[in-house]
Protein backbone atom coordinates (compact mmCIF):
# COMPACT_ATOMS: atom_id res chain seq x y z
CA UNK A 1 0.00 0.00 0.00
CA UNK A 2 1.32 3.43 -0.93
CA UNK A 3 1.14 6.66 1.02
CA UNK A 4 0.47 9.90 -0.86
CA UNK A 5 4.17 10.32 -1.54
CA UNK A 6 4.27 6.87 -3.08
CA UNK A 7 1.37 7.74 -5.35
CA UNK A 8 3.19 10.90 -6.41
CA UNK A 9 6.41 8.93 -7.00
CA UNK A 10 4.62 6.39 -9.17
CA UNK A 11 2.98 9.10 -11.25
CA UNK A 12 6.34 10.81 -11.68
CA UNK A 13 7.45 7.69 -13.58
CA UNK A 14 4.87 8.53 -16.25
CA UNK A 15 6.73 11.71 -17.11
CA UNK A 16 8.85 11.86 -20.23
CA UNK A 17 11.63 14.16 -21.27
CA UNK A 18 10.28 17.37 -22.77
CA UNK A 19 6.79 16.97 -21.33
CA UNK A 20 4.67 19.96 -20.43
CA UNK A 21 2.65 18.99 -17.38
CA UNK A 22 -0.18 20.53 -15.39
CA UNK A 23 -0.38 19.35 -11.79
CA UNK A 24 -3.57 19.83 -9.80
CA UNK A 25 -3.83 20.67 -6.13
CA UNK A 26 -3.13 17.98 -3.47
CA UNK A 27 -1.26 14.77 -4.30
CA UNK A 28 -0.68 15.91 -7.91
CA UNK A 29 1.39 18.84 -6.63
CA UNK A 30 3.73 16.39 -4.90
CA UNK A 31 4.63 14.84 -8.24
CA UNK A 32 6.91 17.81 -8.88
CA UNK A 33 9.21 16.58 -6.11
CA UNK A 34 9.88 13.26 -7.82
CA UNK A 35 10.61 14.20 -11.43
CA UNK A 36 13.40 11.88 -12.58
CA UNK A 37 16.75 13.65 -12.61
CA UNK A 38 17.63 12.66 -16.16
CA UNK A 39 14.64 14.32 -17.83
CA UNK A 40 13.45 17.90 -18.15
CA UNK A 41 9.78 18.56 -17.53
CA UNK A 42 8.09 21.95 -17.73
CA UNK A 43 5.26 22.61 -15.28
CA UNK A 44 2.30 24.66 -16.46
CA UNK A 45 0.26 26.58 -13.94
CA UNK A 46 -3.06 27.56 -15.49
CA UNK A 47 -3.08 31.01 -13.92
CA UNK A 48 -0.39 31.93 -16.42
CA UNK A 49 3.04 30.44 -15.87
CA UNK A 50 5.12 27.93 -17.81
CA UNK A 51 8.24 26.69 -16.10
CA UNK A 52 7.08 26.81 -12.51
CA UNK A 53 9.92 26.54 -10.03
CA UNK A 54 9.99 25.48 -6.37
CA UNK A 55 8.62 27.52 -3.48
CA UNK A 56 10.72 30.63 -2.84
CA UNK A 57 13.20 30.85 0.00
CA UNK A 58 11.76 32.53 3.04
CA UNK A 59 11.78 36.27 2.47
CA UNK A 60 11.83 35.93 -1.31
CA UNK A 61 8.06 35.51 -1.71
CA UNK A 62 6.64 37.65 -4.50
CA UNK A 63 2.89 38.35 -4.38
CA UNK A 64 2.87 38.61 -8.18
CA UNK A 65 4.25 35.10 -8.70
CA UNK A 66 1.84 32.41 -7.56
CA UNK A 67 0.56 29.09 -8.83
CA UNK A 68 -2.99 27.91 -9.47
CA UNK A 69 -3.24 26.92 -5.80
CA UNK A 70 -2.45 30.55 -4.91
CA UNK A 71 0.86 29.49 -3.38
CA UNK A 72 3.95 31.63 -3.81
CA UNK A 73 6.29 29.99 -6.31
CA UNK A 74 9.33 30.91 -8.38
CA UNK A 75 10.35 30.98 -12.00
CA UNK A 76 13.17 29.05 -13.63
CA UNK A 77 15.44 29.97 -16.53
CA UNK A 78 13.19 29.77 -19.59
CA UNK A 79 9.92 30.48 -17.77
CA UNK A 80 7.21 32.57 -19.36
CA UNK A 81 4.16 34.42 -18.12
CA UNK A 82 0.95 34.79 -20.12
CA UNK A 83 -2.70 35.64 -19.63
CA UNK A 84 -5.53 33.26 -18.73
CA UNK A 85 -6.93 33.16 -22.26
CA UNK A 86 -3.64 31.93 -23.66
CA UNK A 87 -3.20 29.56 -20.73
CA UNK A 88 -6.46 27.75 -21.38
CA UNK A 89 -5.88 28.17 -25.10
CA UNK A 90 -2.74 26.06 -24.93
CA UNK A 91 -4.56 23.50 -22.79
CA UNK A 92 -7.46 23.26 -25.25
CA UNK A 93 -5.09 23.06 -28.21
CA UNK A 94 -3.50 19.95 -26.71
CA UNK A 95 -0.10 21.53 -26.07
CA UNK A 96 0.02 20.26 -22.47
CA UNK A 97 1.18 16.64 -22.59
CA UNK A 98 -0.12 15.45 -19.25
CA UNK A 99 -2.54 16.64 -16.61
CA UNK A 100 -2.59 15.11 -13.15
CA UNK A 101 -5.72 15.67 -11.09
CA UNK A 102 -7.38 14.51 -7.92
CA UNK A 103 -10.90 13.06 -8.07
CA UNK A 104 -13.81 12.07 -5.88
CA UNK A 105 -15.03 9.46 -8.35
CA UNK A 106 -13.95 8.00 -11.68
CA UNK A 107 -16.32 5.94 -13.81
CA UNK A 108 -15.29 2.92 -15.83
CA UNK A 109 -15.86 4.93 -19.05
CA UNK A 110 -13.42 7.61 -17.87
CA UNK A 111 -15.95 10.14 -16.55
CA UNK A 112 -14.64 12.13 -13.61
CA UNK A 113 -16.38 13.86 -10.70
CA UNK A 114 -14.23 16.16 -8.62
CA UNK A 115 -15.90 19.51 -8.11
CA UNK A 116 -19.14 19.30 -6.22
CA UNK A 117 -20.84 17.36 -3.46
CA UNK A 118 -24.57 18.07 -3.41
CA UNK A 119 -25.65 19.53 -0.10
CA UNK A 120 -22.20 20.86 0.64
CA UNK A 121 -20.97 24.36 -0.06
CA UNK A 122 -20.06 24.64 -3.72
CA UNK A 123 -16.76 26.41 -4.19
CA UNK A 124 -16.69 26.15 -7.95
CA UNK A 125 -14.91 24.19 -10.62
CA UNK A 126 -12.03 26.59 -11.16
CA UNK A 127 -10.06 25.28 -14.11
CA UNK A 128 -10.97 21.62 -13.56
CA UNK A 129 -13.69 21.43 -16.20
CA UNK A 130 -11.46 23.10 -18.77
CA UNK A 131 -8.62 20.73 -18.01
CA UNK A 132 -10.64 17.53 -18.15
CA UNK A 133 -12.48 18.60 -21.29
CA UNK A 134 -9.34 19.55 -23.14
CA UNK A 135 -6.24 17.78 -21.84
CA UNK A 136 -5.02 15.02 -24.11
CA UNK A 137 -3.74 12.77 -21.33
CA UNK A 138 -5.22 12.77 -17.83
CA UNK A 139 -3.97 10.75 -14.89
CA UNK A 140 -6.00 10.77 -11.70
CA UNK A 141 -4.21 10.60 -8.36
CA UNK A 142 -6.55 9.57 -5.56
CA UNK A 143 -7.37 7.10 -2.81
CA UNK A 144 -9.03 3.95 -4.07
CA UNK A 145 -11.90 4.25 -1.61
CA UNK A 146 -13.55 7.10 0.24
CA UNK A 147 -13.62 7.62 3.99
CA UNK A 148 -16.65 5.37 4.29
CA UNK A 149 -14.65 2.61 2.58
CA UNK A 150 -16.67 2.81 -0.63
CA UNK A 151 -14.99 2.44 -3.98
CA UNK A 152 -14.24 5.59 -5.94
CA UNK A 153 -13.81 3.57 -9.15
CA UNK A 154 -17.41 3.11 -10.18
CA UNK A 155 -19.60 1.78 -12.97
CA UNK A 156 -20.90 5.36 -13.25
CA UNK A 157 -20.29 8.54 -11.28
CA UNK A 158 -22.88 9.34 -8.62
CA UNK A 159 -21.62 12.87 -7.97
CA UNK A 160 -22.04 15.73 -10.45
CA UNK A 161 -19.73 15.16 -13.39
CA UNK A 162 -16.71 17.36 -14.12
CA UNK A 163 -16.02 15.87 -17.51
CA UNK A 164 -16.89 12.97 -19.77
CA UNK A 165 -14.71 10.02 -20.84
CA UNK A 166 -11.45 11.81 -20.20
CA UNK A 167 -9.43 9.88 -17.58
CA UNK A 168 -6.77 7.65 -19.11
CA UNK A 169 -5.08 6.27 -15.99
CA UNK A 170 -5.60 6.16 -12.23
CA UNK A 171 -2.93 5.78 -9.59
CA UNK A 172 -4.16 4.98 -6.07
CA UNK A 173 -2.61 3.65 -2.88
CA UNK A 174 -3.48 0.15 -4.17
CA UNK A 175 -2.93 0.09 -7.89
CA UNK A 176 -2.22 1.58 -11.28
CA UNK A 177 -5.31 1.23 -13.40
CA UNK A 178 -5.88 2.02 -17.03
CA UNK A 179 -9.22 3.22 -18.31
CA UNK A 180 -9.76 1.28 -21.50
CA UNK A 181 -11.05 3.24 -24.49
CA UNK A 182 -14.61 2.98 -25.81
CA UNK A 183 -16.19 2.05 -22.50
CA UNK A 184 -13.97 -1.00 -22.06
CA UNK A 185 -13.83 -0.43 -18.31
CA UNK A 186 -10.89 -0.45 -15.91
CA UNK A 187 -7.83 -2.60 -16.46
CA UNK A 188 -5.44 -3.45 -13.66
CA UNK A 189 -1.87 -2.66 -14.69
CA UNK A 190 0.13 -2.80 -11.46
CA UNK A 191 -0.36 -3.66 -7.79
CA UNK A 192 1.09 -1.53 -5.00
CA UNK A 193 3.76 -3.35 -3.03
CA UNK A 194 2.16 -5.98 -0.83
CA UNK A 195 -1.36 -5.50 -2.20
CA UNK A 196 -3.18 -8.50 -3.62
CA UNK A 197 -5.25 -8.59 -6.78
CA UNK A 198 -8.18 -9.68 -4.64
CA UNK A 199 -7.85 -6.59 -2.45
CA UNK A 200 -7.95 -4.36 -5.53
CA UNK A 201 -10.88 -6.28 -6.98
CA UNK A 202 -12.90 -5.75 -3.81
CA UNK A 203 -12.07 -2.06 -3.71
CA UNK A 204 -13.10 -1.51 -7.33
CA UNK A 205 -16.83 -1.24 -7.97
CA UNK A 206 -16.58 -0.66 -11.72
CA UNK A 207 -15.83 -3.35 -14.26
CA UNK A 208 -12.21 -4.41 -13.79
CA UNK A 209 -10.20 -6.46 -16.25
CA UNK A 210 -7.37 -8.31 -14.56
CA UNK A 211 -4.64 -9.78 -16.77
CA UNK A 212 -3.07 -13.09 -15.84
CA UNK A 213 0.04 -11.48 -14.61
CA UNK A 214 -0.18 -8.20 -12.67
CA UNK A 215 3.26 -6.96 -11.72
CA UNK A 216 4.00 -5.13 -8.51
CA UNK A 217 4.88 -1.45 -8.95
CA UNK A 218 8.49 -0.51 -8.88
CA UNK A 219 8.82 2.62 -6.78
CA UNK A 220 12.33 3.99 -6.79
Amino acid sequence: MLDKFGIAKRIAQELKDGYYVNLGIGIPTLVANYIPKNIYVTLQSENGLLGMGPFPFEGDEDADIINAGKQTVTTLPGSSFFDSAMSFGMIRAGKVDLTVLGAMEVAENGDIANWKIPGKMVKGMGGAMDLVAAAKNIIVAMQHTNKAGESKLLPACTLPITGLRCVKKIVTELAVIEVLPNGGGFKLLERAPGVSVEHIRKATAGKLTVPDDVPEMLIH
Binding site: N47, A63, M125, G126
Partner: protein, 233 residues
Protein backbone atom coordinates in the same frame (compact mmCIF):
# COMPACT_ATOMS: atom_id res chain seq x y z
CA UNK B 1 -4.83 64.18 -26.35
CA UNK B 2 -8.17 63.68 -24.74
CA UNK B 3 -7.03 63.00 -21.22
CA UNK B 4 -7.31 59.46 -19.89
CA UNK B 5 -5.49 60.20 -16.65
CA UNK B 6 -7.47 60.55 -13.43
CA UNK B 7 -5.96 61.70 -10.19
CA UNK B 8 -7.67 59.24 -7.87
CA UNK B 9 -9.68 56.04 -7.95
CA UNK B 10 -12.71 58.04 -6.81
CA UNK B 11 -12.39 60.32 -9.83
CA UNK B 12 -11.89 57.46 -12.26
CA UNK B 13 -14.93 55.56 -11.00
CA UNK B 14 -17.16 58.64 -10.82
CA UNK B 15 -19.96 57.35 -13.01
CA UNK B 16 -20.36 53.74 -11.90
CA UNK B 17 -23.97 53.42 -10.81
CA UNK B 18 -26.03 50.94 -8.85
CA UNK B 19 -26.75 47.83 -10.87
CA UNK B 20 -23.66 48.07 -13.06
CA UNK B 21 -22.02 44.96 -14.52
CA UNK B 22 -18.35 45.09 -13.61
CA UNK B 23 -15.40 42.93 -14.51
CA UNK B 24 -12.59 42.79 -11.99
CA UNK B 25 -9.17 41.44 -12.89
CA UNK B 26 -7.15 39.18 -10.64
CA UNK B 27 -6.69 35.55 -9.71
CA UNK B 28 -7.26 35.02 -6.02
CA UNK B 29 -5.80 38.16 -4.49
CA UNK B 30 -3.07 38.37 -7.14
CA UNK B 31 -3.37 41.31 -9.52
CA UNK B 32 -6.67 42.63 -8.17
CA UNK B 33 -7.63 46.30 -8.58
CA UNK B 34 -7.21 47.18 -4.91
CA UNK B 35 -7.75 50.89 -5.28
CA UNK B 36 -10.84 50.56 -7.45
CA UNK B 37 -12.39 48.15 -4.95
CA UNK B 38 -11.73 50.64 -2.15
CA UNK B 39 -13.35 53.38 -4.22
CA UNK B 40 -16.46 51.24 -4.82
CA UNK B 41 -16.60 50.55 -1.11
CA UNK B 42 -16.42 54.27 -0.33
CA UNK B 43 -18.99 55.10 -3.01
CA UNK B 44 -21.36 52.45 -1.72
CA UNK B 45 -22.51 51.48 -5.22
CA UNK B 46 -25.08 48.71 -4.85
CA UNK B 47 -26.56 45.77 -6.77
CA UNK B 48 -23.37 45.14 -8.64
CA UNK B 49 -22.90 42.16 -10.90
CA UNK B 50 -19.25 41.22 -10.62
CA UNK B 51 -17.47 39.11 -13.20
CA UNK B 52 -14.29 37.96 -11.52
CA UNK B 53 -12.52 34.63 -11.32
CA UNK B 54 -12.70 34.69 -7.51
CA UNK B 55 -14.57 36.60 -4.83
CA UNK B 56 -11.70 37.61 -2.59
CA UNK B 57 -11.41 36.66 1.06
CA UNK B 58 -13.48 37.85 4.02
CA UNK B 59 -11.46 40.98 4.63
CA UNK B 60 -9.82 41.70 1.30
CA UNK B 61 -10.60 42.04 -2.38
CA UNK B 62 -14.19 41.57 -3.49
CA UNK B 63 -14.86 40.10 -0.04
CA UNK B 64 -14.99 43.69 1.21
CA UNK B 65 -17.85 44.48 -1.17
CA UNK B 66 -19.69 41.35 -0.12
CA UNK B 67 -19.50 42.38 3.53
CA UNK B 68 -21.17 45.68 2.70
CA UNK B 69 -23.77 43.84 0.59
CA UNK B 70 -22.93 45.81 -2.54
CA UNK B 71 -22.86 42.73 -4.75
CA UNK B 72 -26.03 41.23 -6.15
CA UNK B 73 -24.44 38.59 -8.33
CA UNK B 74 -21.05 36.97 -8.77
CA UNK B 75 -19.97 35.31 -12.01
CA UNK B 76 -16.87 33.34 -11.05
CA UNK B 77 -15.08 30.04 -11.39
CA UNK B 78 -14.02 29.55 -7.78
CA UNK B 79 -15.36 31.29 -4.69
CA UNK B 80 -14.13 29.13 -1.86
CA UNK B 81 -12.20 31.26 0.58
CA UNK B 82 -14.91 33.42 2.03
CA UNK B 83 -17.27 32.79 4.99
CA UNK B 84 -19.46 35.84 4.39
CA UNK B 85 -19.83 34.76 0.80
CA UNK B 86 -21.02 31.34 1.90
CA UNK B 87 -23.50 32.85 4.36
CA UNK B 88 -25.04 35.13 1.74
CA UNK B 89 -25.13 32.37 -0.84
CA UNK B 90 -26.89 29.91 1.47
CA UNK B 91 -29.34 32.58 2.64
CA UNK B 92 -30.18 33.47 -0.95
CA UNK B 93 -29.03 37.07 -0.62
CA UNK B 94 -26.33 36.55 -3.21
CA UNK B 95 -26.72 35.11 -6.67
CA UNK B 96 -23.81 33.07 -8.00
CA UNK B 97 -23.10 31.78 -11.46
CA UNK B 98 -20.19 29.37 -11.56
CA UNK B 99 -18.45 28.89 -14.88
CA UNK B 100 -15.22 27.16 -15.81
CA UNK B 101 -12.10 29.29 -15.52
CA UNK B 102 -11.05 28.93 -19.15
CA UNK B 103 -14.57 29.69 -20.28
CA UNK B 104 -14.52 32.85 -18.17
CA UNK B 105 -11.21 33.91 -19.72
CA UNK B 106 -12.29 33.09 -23.26
CA UNK B 107 -15.64 34.86 -22.98
CA UNK B 108 -13.69 37.98 -21.99
CA UNK B 109 -11.34 37.49 -24.92
CA UNK B 110 -14.34 37.10 -27.21
CA UNK B 111 -15.69 40.49 -26.10
CA UNK B 112 -12.34 42.15 -26.67
CA UNK B 113 -11.90 40.57 -30.08
CA UNK B 114 -15.42 41.20 -31.34
CA UNK B 115 -16.39 37.53 -31.41
CA UNK B 116 -20.07 37.26 -30.47
CA UNK B 117 -19.74 33.71 -29.17
CA UNK B 118 -17.23 30.88 -29.04
CA UNK B 119 -17.41 27.10 -28.97
CA UNK B 120 -15.78 25.69 -25.84
CA UNK B 121 -15.49 22.11 -24.64
CA UNK B 122 -15.43 22.80 -20.89
CA UNK B 123 -18.52 21.59 -19.09
CA UNK B 124 -19.94 19.39 -21.82
CA UNK B 125 -22.02 16.69 -20.17
CA UNK B 126 -22.09 18.56 -16.85
CA UNK B 127 -24.66 20.79 -15.23
CA UNK B 128 -22.76 23.76 -16.70
CA UNK B 129 -24.13 22.68 -20.08
CA UNK B 130 -27.77 22.91 -18.94
CA UNK B 131 -29.73 24.97 -21.43
CA UNK B 132 -26.73 25.63 -23.61
CA UNK B 133 -26.51 24.97 -27.31
CA UNK B 134 -24.06 22.20 -28.20
CA UNK B 135 -22.36 21.42 -31.45
CA UNK B 136 -20.05 18.67 -32.59
CA UNK B 137 -16.88 19.47 -34.52
CA UNK B 138 -14.85 16.45 -35.54
CA UNK B 139 -15.39 13.90 -32.77
CA UNK B 140 -15.72 16.45 -29.99
CA UNK B 141 -18.72 18.26 -28.53
CA UNK B 142 -18.60 21.96 -27.68
CA UNK B 143 -20.85 24.41 -25.88
CA UNK B 144 -21.74 27.73 -27.48
CA UNK B 145 -20.64 30.36 -24.96
CA UNK B 146 -21.39 34.04 -25.43
CA UNK B 147 -19.09 37.02 -25.14
CA UNK B 148 -19.58 39.03 -21.96
CA UNK B 149 -21.27 42.38 -22.04
CA UNK B 150 -19.84 44.37 -19.13
CA UNK B 151 -20.30 48.07 -18.42
CA UNK B 152 -16.92 48.46 -16.78
CA UNK B 153 -13.67 46.58 -16.49
CA UNK B 154 -11.53 47.37 -13.47
CA UNK B 155 -8.03 46.11 -14.06
CA UNK B 156 -4.70 46.42 -12.36
CA UNK B 157 -1.36 46.64 -14.11
CA UNK B 158 2.23 47.02 -13.05
CA UNK B 159 3.12 49.91 -15.34
CA UNK B 160 1.01 52.09 -17.54
CA UNK B 161 1.46 55.25 -19.55
CA UNK B 162 -0.83 58.22 -20.01
CA UNK B 163 -2.23 56.83 -23.25
CA UNK B 164 -3.40 53.74 -21.39
CA UNK B 165 -0.74 51.26 -22.53
CA UNK B 166 -0.31 48.58 -19.89
CA UNK B 167 2.35 46.11 -18.79
CA UNK B 168 1.48 43.46 -16.21
CA UNK B 169 3.90 41.67 -13.93
CA UNK B 170 4.25 37.93 -13.41
CA UNK B 171 1.09 35.96 -12.78
CA UNK B 172 -0.66 39.17 -11.77
CA UNK B 173 -1.41 39.36 -15.48
CA UNK B 174 -4.04 36.57 -15.36
CA UNK B 175 -7.48 37.93 -16.36
CA UNK B 176 -6.48 41.58 -16.50
CA UNK B 177 -5.57 41.84 -20.22
CA UNK B 178 -8.76 40.15 -21.41
CA UNK B 179 -10.97 42.16 -19.11
CA UNK B 180 -9.21 45.34 -20.19
CA UNK B 181 -10.20 44.46 -23.76
CA UNK B 182 -13.73 43.50 -22.80
CA UNK B 183 -15.03 46.48 -20.82
CA UNK B 184 -17.25 49.04 -22.49
CA UNK B 185 -15.37 51.41 -20.18
CA UNK B 186 -12.04 50.11 -18.97
CA UNK B 187 -10.45 51.69 -15.92
CA UNK B 188 -6.87 50.68 -15.22
CA UNK B 189 -4.99 51.29 -12.03
CA UNK B 190 -1.23 50.96 -12.16
CA UNK B 191 1.61 50.78 -9.70
CA UNK B 192 3.68 53.06 -11.89
CA UNK B 193 2.17 55.66 -14.18
CA UNK B 194 4.74 56.90 -16.66
CA UNK B 195 4.98 59.25 -19.62
CA UNK B 196 4.30 58.00 -23.15
CA UNK B 197 7.57 56.76 -24.58
CA UNK B 198 8.84 55.28 -21.33
CA UNK B 199 7.39 51.86 -22.15
CA UNK B 200 8.96 49.87 -24.97
CA UNK B 201 6.26 49.51 -27.69
CA UNK B 202 7.38 45.92 -28.13
CA UNK B 203 6.68 45.00 -24.50
CA UNK B 204 3.18 46.38 -24.08
CA UNK B 205 0.62 43.74 -23.13
CA UNK B 206 -2.52 45.87 -23.49
CA UNK B 207 -2.47 48.66 -26.08
CA UNK B 208 -3.97 51.93 -24.87
CA UNK B 209 -6.86 51.76 -27.32
CA UNK B 210 -8.55 49.36 -24.92
CA UNK B 211 -8.11 51.60 -21.86
CA UNK B 212 -10.39 54.56 -21.30
CA UNK B 213 -9.19 55.78 -17.91
CA UNK B 214 -6.00 55.26 -15.98
CA UNK B 215 -4.79 56.25 -12.55
CA UNK B 216 -1.81 55.68 -10.34
CA UNK B 217 -2.89 53.52 -7.43
CA UNK B 218 -1.36 53.77 -4.03
CA UNK B 219 -0.89 51.82 -0.83
CA UNK B 220 -0.84 48.46 -2.58
CA UNK B 221 -1.07 45.69 -0.04
CA UNK B 222 -0.64 42.84 -2.56
CA UNK B 223 -1.69 40.34 0.03
CA UNK B 224 -0.46 36.76 -0.34
CA UNK B 225 -3.12 34.10 0.09
CA UNK B 226 -0.87 31.05 0.55
CA UNK B 227 2.58 32.03 1.69
CA UNK B 228 4.64 28.95 0.88
CA UNK B 229 8.38 28.95 1.27
CA UNK B 230 11.25 26.53 1.56
CA UNK B 231 13.88 26.90 4.23
CA UNK B 232 17.21 28.40 3.33
CA UNK B 233 19.74 25.65 3.82
Amino acid sequence: MSNKVYQTADDALFDIRDGAVIMLGGFGLCGIPENAISALLKKGTKNLTCISNNAGVDDFGIGLLLKTRQVKKMISSYVGENDEFERQLLSGELEVELIPQGTLATRCLASGYGLPAVFLPAGVGTEVADGKETRVFGDKTYLLEYAFDADYALVKAWKGDKYGNLIFRGTARNFNPMMAMAGKITIAEVEHLVEPGELDPNEIHTPGIYVHRIFQGNGYEKRIEQRTVRPRT
